[in-house]
Symmetry: C2
Subunit: 686 residues, 2 copies
């Protein structure tokens, strides 16, 4: 009896651990394998084929990394301001700043073509796994991969012929190769700008509020698809606007193109990211931002404009990395990962065939992580970054290195010539900081450190290098690169002396890195296949920037000792602005200040839901069970950053624009009632 | 050379560690030893004697545990709504609910006397340490203490004669006895209610927003001190109202009566709180709230009213305990404590006389903490809580125990009779839960567990006990307690059987607890004296519910990935209300709903500052360097809870009512312009 009881307990433990942690793999379902029975069981709602098809065809991949949806029968497309931002800047006339000031078309003729922008509708999905994997060569990974690549290319070619022009077939590997899907997209390539609000309304709260909630971002943009010079007829596949908007506790779906998740990583791989990769990168970033801010602080009027965008971009990464790192440092997250790994591994080990094929995955991952750990510091710290003379010298050294292939040498020559020669004070500080870090981590005997510093300090070494080198001089550089203008004694140049040490080091470490990456990629494939072998399509594949449907509910969450409301209001937006004295980035743009008395302050701006999203989902529609738009995905809260590694929905949230915010803005702020009416179901303007 | 360098480094390390961590002891300065030179050095502002005296006399201890200030020359006193709340309920007429609906006087005659409420102004401070400690008996702690108590009583008696009626002299021991101060208070005992807003305006956000920020609590109340039946003449000591309000970055002072801090605790004592005391208490509280909520959920209409206030009170403790525990679990806090302790101990050890006297403090603390740890579970789990029959039986067993003193037996008899006999379902669940916990922590052989459960479960044991016992019956209880009505066979009653085991256990453990508490108290005195011996009045004493002045600055802080603004607005308040659908506790009371269009939404409601406060400071004025009221202290943010153990000001903040909120409310919501005008400097109404 006692033995039996123990066996049963262990079994129950494993089963419950596995069930618990399969949840951590997330809810980014493919349309072809959406878990309809689970939806029915969990929510009492089972989408039928017609619902799924309509929703799929109403969704569209937007540009190179965003999502969107058709929201009128006449080709109107809803996405985020931040998805269309660069395009708006590109088509804005010289004498206008549509990015800053917004843009509103008031007739079809006023809509502005956006050359180069492509919107893609997923029209066909076929499982081609059997066909592309039939050329597998037992024991020869490379040959198997070659055959699969070749077969996938054939599948694409055939689909091109079958679907004809205006379509883009692609083979996407799901489950790290466990499945191969042929996805065919209908391409919309005549896209025209209809409306965007002021940048500052879309990006209200700027970098501080980025990745956070409560939030007040009116982050939307409207474009229109044209076919043969006329608004596209999308009457068969568009999402109606919900007149009631989202409701607390309501079931909602996000359809969009999540870019990349890392939920199949092993514990050893996560520990490497936690203990080496992320801390080293953050250290870099923190210090660099500090140096740049200090440099700006000495002369803000002159310098802020110059580097602010650069600093903001780095702060964005800094915030994301901090969020990732916080997740990996959260013991409960790692414990959940460990429990899942133990259960998963036990399942693999329990099947001899699977054990044979996948049993070494975890030890292999640990071994690779260990090698990457040894490589990490050199890879990050052996760099001329910040010192332009040295950057030029490194490229020149490569261009002059007879052991390298001609194409590589030619590319290096071009890079050398494209590098500006004048040193920038704060960049040099960054360089000195890098050399100091290299000294601390790799020792004074490290060849690069020794070459820069000799017996002195990093600062003195860098100073002497810059003062003594002629690489800042364009004529000298050209002569070195052999334009025949003169013979030069380049070997004695102090930058070249360092470059001759640094360039081969970088080359060697880059190659080691590439080898490790290839092994990691192969290992990733094996992990994905092992997961697929155990769980099949019961779990969703990691994100692949292809269309997914994610279920969730509208829901607030516990925050900072209290409750975050499930929605935010215009009251809150104007409040946050006055609370910060209307100072940037909490300033409201002029049209919103002017419309203050017209806006209904009790209408809503943003709301949150538990759907599983990640970068690439920006611009996704969020819909109710009637397939009506109840919002527009634009961000995740700070607590959702670790969802990259493990999906959770207790506190992590998707942040959406509330439909109120779009309609109030169009009608009361921008006098764009016609576009609002089109969203609400009336015919478009002419 | 090398040795010297090491010595210097260690010295610098110790010095810097000590300087760093003295900061952790906080900034609750006494008026008699306010660090004026430090103020000047840090802020460029050195209060003079007149400033200090005026500020001290303008501040007042309010009721039994709050603070307040005189804010007009005619006796008007400003404090928190939550400080006067119970008094308002007490004086509210039967047919009115001033607590819920607010109260506004519009003439002196309308002000409502509050019998029993006392407000105390600190008029004299004398250091009597030398006098009260001169009767010390070397080596005899108890005799020393007796002599000191007697001398302190004499000091108080003499002061009573010296200051005459209307004054309360008290000797307060600072630094756990390192100093004895004679504080003499002028008592104001004719206090009348002038104005309070609706409870829901003061308590907006309820339990969720309690201890948090951003916050929107208009938590003020106005009363007036009368002398000889007329408004007190406070023209010599009142604080003017700041017309400009607080400014970002401004130096501000809080004057008030912080109740209790625990910053002198040793690491071992904190570890005990972290590892045993707080987790066991929280476990209790969590489970009890869970049981009560589940009970309410089954019939909310009937049950919610009955136990909501009880649940809210427990949730308040739960939130505070969680905050304390989070602080103690924060490695950086403990490391800072450890570093301070090491430096402090080294200083004690370096002086032979101090080492002799105080050298064993830390080991003694660890030994006591260990003993308390062993006692903790029994002390908390040996209890009849939740089972009324058993509670009655325990009191009865005590009343019948001939080995106890007659007074104790008499008290037990009264307690038995005061305990209701009818069992309550959810309370019985709590009892079963307690017995289960006792079984898990103390084992099935624990006498109390064995007496309740026998060989069965806690639930069955409790059921049998209640079903079989006659202690629920009032007549039976009275007979047992010997009213002569009947002879009863009490020994066979199942509740009495358990009580005969439980009562002596509880008695024994309560005595052990009392012994440990006495030792802890004596140890606390030694720690305080050791701190005082090293640092003197350069550090502030732990809080003693006596008047302190705390310096700080008005300042926002990093929160949840973004920035908390230093102030919140009416926009934000109305926003939070609509975002929660105006549902309780985020509902705005009717007068605020009606005044929506009159209120200037861009005026401010609350703001934060870095001042060092704790419970007891509620109602304190927060003033600028001109001694003008710029706000009213009413809470701390959630991150400030661990300040109980270690003061920090990076993220912890004091939360204050902004003067805007008081003036807007009086003028626009309550039509109480005359009171607003009095605050703003005009004569009071008649």
């Amino acid at each position: 009896m006692r033995t039996l009881r123990i066996v049963v307990s262990v079994f129950l433990l494993l089963a419950s651990v596995a069930a618990q942690d399969v949840k951590g793999l997330g809810r980014m379902w493919t349309f072809e394998n959406a878990p309809l029975d689970m939806f029915e069981k969990e929510y009492g709602f089972k989408p039928d084929a017609a619902w799924l098809e309509k929703v799929r065809l109403s969704s569209a991949r937007f540009g190179s990394g965003c999502s969107s949806s058709f929201v009128s029968p006449t080709g109107l497309i809803l996405t985020n301001h931040h998805c269309v931002r660069d395009w708006v800047a590109k088509v804005s006339p010289k004498d206008r700043d549509w990015l800053k000031d917004g843009f509103i078309a008031r007739a079809l003729a006023e809509e502005v073509p956006i050359p180069g922008l492509k919107v893609q509708q997923l029209v066909s999905m076929e499982d081609v796994t059997a066909r592309v994997t039939k050329g597998g060569v037992a024991g020869d990974v490379a040959a198997t991969e070659r055959n699969r690549n070749a077969e996938e290319a054939k599948v694409v070619e055939e689909a091109k012929a079958r679907f004809g022009p205006g379509h883009s077939p692609q083979v996407t590997r799901l489950y790290q190769g466990g499945m191969s899907m042929l996805y065919v997209y209908r391409d919309f390539e005549d896209i025209r700008l209809a409306a965007v609000p002021n940048l500052q309304a879309a990006h209200f709260g700027g970098d501080p509020d980025n990745f956070t909630y409560p939030r007040y971002g009116i982050d939307f943009g409207l474009v229109r698809a044209y076919v043969d010079g006329k608004p596209a007829d999308t009457s068969a596949h568009y999402l109606k606007w919900s007149l009631e908007g989202p409701k607390d506790g309501e079931l909602v779906f996000v359809t969009g193109n999540p870019g990349s998740t890392a939920r199949a990583l092993t514990v050893a791989q996560l520990e490497y990211q936690r203990d080496a990769q992320l801390p080293i990168r953050l250290e870099f970033l923190d210090r660099r931002i500090e140096i740049m801010e200090a440099w700006v602080a000495k002369d803000p009027a002159a310098r802020d404009r110059e580097v602010r965008a650069d600093i903001l971009g780095r702060q964005n990464s800094q915030k994301a990395f901090r969020g990732f790192l916080a997740g990996l440092k959260d013991a409960s997250l790692m414990n959940e990962k460990r429990a899942f790994e133990a259960a998963f591994r036990a399942k693999i080990d329990a099947d001899p065939a699977l054990k044979e094929k996948f049993g070494t995955i975890w030890d292999d991952a640990a071994a690779i992580a260990k090698r990457r750990l040894d490589l990490e510091a050199g890879l990050r710290l052996h760099t001329p970054e910040g010192c332009r003379s040295l950057m030029r010298a490194v490229f020149a050294a490569r261009a002059m290195d007879a052991s390298l292939p001609p194409a590589v040498r030619e590319a290096a020559k071009k890079q050398a010539l494209a590098t500006p020669g004048t040193e920038v004070a704060y960049e040099l500080e960054v360089f000195v900081d890098i050399v100091e870090r290299a000294k601390a981590r790799l020792g004074a005997a490290d060849p690069f450190v020794a070459a820069v510093c000799g017996a002195g300090s990093a600062a003195d070494g860098a100073k002497a290098l810059v003062a003594g080198s002629r690489f800042g001089d364009d004529a000298f550089l050209k002569a070195v690169l052999g334009d025949g203008s003169a013979e030069v004694a380049v070997d004695e140049d102090p930058a070249m002396k360092v470059a001759k040490v640094l360039a081969p080091l970088m080359q060697k470490e880059a190659m080691a890195d590439a080898r490790i990456k290839a092994e990691e990629s192969a290992l990733g494939t094996r992990i994905g296949q092992a997961l697929f072998a155990i769980f099949g399509t019961k779990i969703p594949p990691d994100a692949t920037l292809t269309l997914r449907i994610a279920d969730g509910v509208v829901k607030g969450y516990p925050m900072n000792g209290t409750i975050a409301p499930w929605r935010t209001s215009f009251y809150g937006m104007y409040g946050r602005s006055v609370e910060f004295g209307n100072h940037h980035p909490f300033d409201l743009p002029e049209p919103y200040m002017k419309a203050k008395d017209k806006i209904d302050m009790s209408k809503f701006v943003n709301f949150v839901s538990t759907n599983d999203i990640i970068g690439g989902n920006s611009g996704s529609p969020i819909i109710n069970t009637r397939a009506e738009v109840v919002g527009l995905v634009f961000d995740g809260n700070i607590e959702s950053l670790p969802n990259r590694y493990l999906f959770r929905d207790d506190v992590p949230r998707t942040v959406n624009v509330h439909p109120d915010a779009i309609i109030e803005s169009l009608k009361k702020v921008y006098d764009a009632g016609a576009l609002a009416d089109e969203l609400l179901g009336k015919p478009m303007y002419r």
